[in-house]
Symmetry: C2
Subunit: 91 residues, 2 copies
Protein backbone atom coordinates (compact mmCIF):
# COMPACT_ATOMS: atom_id res chain seq x y z
CA UNK A 1 0.00 0.00 0.00
CA UNK A 2 1.42 3.33 -0.94
CA UNK A 3 0.45 6.62 0.50
CA UNK A 4 0.47 8.74 -2.59
CA UNK A 5 -1.95 10.39 -4.95
CA UNK A 6 0.00 9.49 -8.07
CA UNK A 7 -1.07 5.93 -8.51
CA UNK A 8 -0.37 3.54 -11.33
CA UNK A 9 -3.29 2.26 -13.39
CA UNK A 10 -3.32 -1.23 -11.94
CA UNK A 11 -3.59 0.02 -8.40
CA UNK A 12 -6.78 0.43 -6.45
CA UNK A 13 -7.44 3.91 -5.11
CA UNK A 14 -9.53 4.52 -2.05
CA UNK A 15 -10.82 7.75 -0.56
CA UNK A 16 -10.65 7.51 3.21
CA UNK A 17 -11.51 9.86 6.08
CA UNK A 18 -9.02 10.14 8.90
CA UNK A 19 -9.59 12.58 11.77
CA UNK A 20 -11.99 14.66 9.68
CA UNK A 21 -9.69 14.91 6.68
CA UNK A 22 -10.00 13.11 3.35
CA UNK A 23 -7.03 11.20 1.91
CA UNK A 24 -6.50 9.20 -1.26
CA UNK A 25 -4.54 6.04 -0.64
CA UNK A 26 -3.61 3.44 -3.18
CA UNK A 27 -2.39 -0.10 -3.22
CA UNK A 28 -2.96 -3.62 -4.41
CA UNK A 29 -5.12 -4.41 -1.39
CA UNK A 30 -8.91 -4.29 -1.37
CA UNK A 31 -10.82 -1.10 -0.66
CA UNK A 32 -12.12 -2.79 2.52
CA UNK A 33 -8.58 -3.34 3.76
CA UNK A 34 -7.69 0.30 3.12
CA UNK A 35 -10.85 1.48 4.90
CA UNK A 36 -10.00 -0.79 7.82
CA UNK A 37 -6.46 0.62 8.04
CA UNK A 38 -7.81 4.20 7.88
CA UNK A 39 -10.33 3.43 10.65
CA UNK A 40 -7.53 2.12 12.90
CA UNK A 41 -5.42 5.26 12.34
CA UNK A 42 -8.47 7.47 13.01
CA UNK A 43 -9.23 5.56 16.23
CA UNK A 44 -5.63 5.75 17.47
CA UNK A 45 -5.46 9.51 16.79
CA UNK A 46 -8.69 10.03 18.76
CA UNK A 47 -7.34 7.94 21.64
CA UNK A 48 -4.18 10.05 21.87
CA UNK A 49 -6.28 13.23 21.57
CA UNK A 50 -8.46 12.14 24.51
CA UNK A 51 -5.33 11.93 26.70
CA UNK A 52 -3.63 15.00 25.17
CA UNK A 53 -6.36 17.41 24.02
CA UNK A 54 -3.84 20.17 23.28
CA UNK A 55 -1.99 18.31 20.53
CA UNK A 56 -2.64 19.33 16.92
CA UNK A 57 -3.48 16.93 14.09
CA UNK A 58 0.12 16.69 12.94
CA UNK A 59 1.42 15.78 16.42
CA UNK A 60 -1.41 13.27 16.91
CA UNK A 61 -0.53 11.58 13.63
CA UNK A 62 3.22 11.57 14.36
CA UNK A 63 2.62 10.01 17.79
CA UNK A 64 0.23 7.47 16.25
CA UNK A 65 3.03 6.50 13.86
CA UNK A 66 5.50 6.34 16.78
CA UNK A 67 3.24 3.99 18.76
CA UNK A 68 2.58 1.82 15.74
CA UNK A 69 6.27 1.46 14.87
CA UNK A 70 6.91 0.54 18.50
CA UNK A 71 4.20 -2.14 18.34
CA UNK A 72 5.57 -3.34 14.98
CA UNK A 73 9.08 -3.81 16.42
CA UNK A 74 7.64 -5.74 19.40
CA UNK A 75 5.63 -8.01 17.09
CA UNK A 76 8.69 -8.52 14.88
CA UNK A 77 10.70 -9.65 17.91
CA UNK A 78 7.87 -12.03 18.87
CA UNK A 79 7.80 -13.35 15.29
CA UNK A 80 11.55 -13.98 15.28
CA UNK A 81 11.32 -15.84 18.59
CA UNK A 82 8.52 -18.07 17.28
CA UNK A 83 10.43 -18.65 14.03
CA UNK A 84 13.45 -19.79 16.01
CA UNK A 85 11.35 -22.19 18.12
CA UNK A 86 9.72 -23.46 14.94
CA UNK A 87 13.09 -24.20 13.35
CA UNK A 88 14.31 -26.04 16.44
CA UNK A 89 11.15 -28.14 16.52
CA UNK A 90 11.54 -29.05 12.85
CA UNK A 91 15.18 -30.09 13.15
CA UNK B 1 5.34 3.21 25.03
CA UNK B 2 2.88 6.02 25.38
CA UNK B 3 2.76 9.12 23.28
CA UNK B 4 1.99 11.66 25.92
CA UNK B 5 3.70 14.40 27.85
CA UNK B 6 2.07 13.55 31.18
CA UNK B 7 4.30 10.69 32.23
CA UNK B 8 4.35 8.78 35.48
CA UNK B 9 7.46 8.90 37.63
CA UNK B 10 8.64 5.39 36.84
CA UNK B 11 8.55 5.96 33.13
CA UNK B 12 11.45 7.03 31.00
CA UNK B 13 10.95 10.21 29.03
CA UNK B 14 12.80 10.89 25.82
CA UNK B 15 12.97 14.02 23.72
CA UNK B 16 13.01 13.05 20.07
CA UNK B 17 13.11 14.97 16.79
CA UNK B 18 10.76 13.90 14.03
CA UNK B 19 10.59 15.82 10.77
CA UNK B 20 12.09 18.92 12.38
CA UNK B 21 9.71 18.93 15.33
CA UNK B 22 10.52 17.99 18.93
CA UNK B 23 8.31 15.49 20.77
CA UNK B 24 8.40 14.06 24.27
CA UNK B 25 7.61 10.37 24.32
CA UNK B 26 7.52 8.14 27.36
CA UNK B 27 7.54 4.46 28.10
CA UNK B 28 9.24 1.64 29.91
CA UNK B 29 11.63 1.06 27.01
CA UNK B 30 15.17 2.39 26.81
CA UNK B 31 15.91 5.85 25.44
CA UNK B 32 17.78 4.11 22.59
CA UNK B 33 14.65 2.21 21.60
CA UNK B 34 12.59 5.40 21.59
CA UNK B 35 15.22 7.20 19.51
CA UNK B 36 15.25 4.27 17.08
CA UNK B 37 11.45 4.38 16.74
CA UNK B 38 11.53 8.16 16.20
CA UNK B 39 14.23 7.77 13.52
CA UNK B 40 12.07 5.23 11.64
CA UNK B 41 9.04 7.56 11.69
CA UNK B 42 11.22 10.48 10.54
CA UNK B 43 12.66 8.38 7.69
CA UNK B 44 9.20 7.22 6.58
CA UNK B 45 7.85 10.77 6.53
CA UNK B 46 10.80 11.91 4.42
CA UNK B 47 10.29 9.01 2.01
CA UNK B 48 6.63 9.95 1.48
CA UNK B 49 7.62 13.61 1.11
CA UNK B 50 10.13 12.74 -1.62
CA UNK B 51 7.32 11.11 -3.65
CA UNK B 52 4.69 13.74 -2.72
CA UNK B 53 6.48 17.05 -2.14
CA UNK B 54 3.17 18.96 -1.93
CA UNK B 55 1.87 17.19 1.18
CA UNK B 56 2.00 19.08 4.46
CA UNK B 57 3.46 17.67 7.69
CA UNK B 58 0.08 16.57 8.97
CA UNK B 59 -0.75 14.59 5.82
CA UNK B 60 2.76 13.07 5.76
CA UNK B 61 2.34 11.94 9.35
CA UNK B 62 -1.16 10.53 8.73
CA UNK B 63 0.04 8.61 5.66
CA UNK B 64 3.06 7.33 7.59
CA UNK B 65 0.65 6.03 10.23
CA UNK B 66 -1.50 4.45 7.47
CA UNK B 67 1.48 2.64 5.95
CA UNK B 68 2.70 1.48 9.33
CA UNK B 69 -0.70 0.07 10.36
CA UNK B 70 -0.86 -1.69 6.99
CA UNK B 71 2.57 -3.26 7.58
CA UNK B 72 1.57 -4.21 11.13
CA UNK B 73 -1.55 -6.04 9.89
CA UNK B 74 0.51 -7.92 7.28
CA UNK B 75 3.05 -8.98 9.92
CA UNK B 76 0.24 -10.02 12.25
CA UNK B 77 -1.20 -12.26 9.51
CA UNK B 78 2.26 -13.74 8.92
CA UNK B 79 2.63 -14.35 12.66
CA UNK B 80 -0.75 -16.09 12.88
CA UNK B 81 0.14 -18.34 9.92
CA UNK B 82 3.44 -19.33 11.54
CA UNK B 83 1.70 -19.88 14.89
CA UNK B 84 -0.77 -22.24 13.19
CA UNK B 85 2.02 -24.20 11.48
CA UNK B 86 3.87 -24.36 14.79
CA UNK B 87 0.83 -25.80 16.58
CA UNK B 88 0.33 -28.43 13.86
CA UNK B 89 3.96 -29.46 14.05
CA UNK B 90 3.76 -29.80 17.85
CA UNK B 91 0.61 -31.95 17.81
Amino acid sequence: MEANGLTENEKIRAMVMIYGQQYTISGTETTEHMQQVAAIVDKKMREIHSVNPNLNTSALAVLTAVNTIHEYIKLQEKYETLEEEFKQLKD
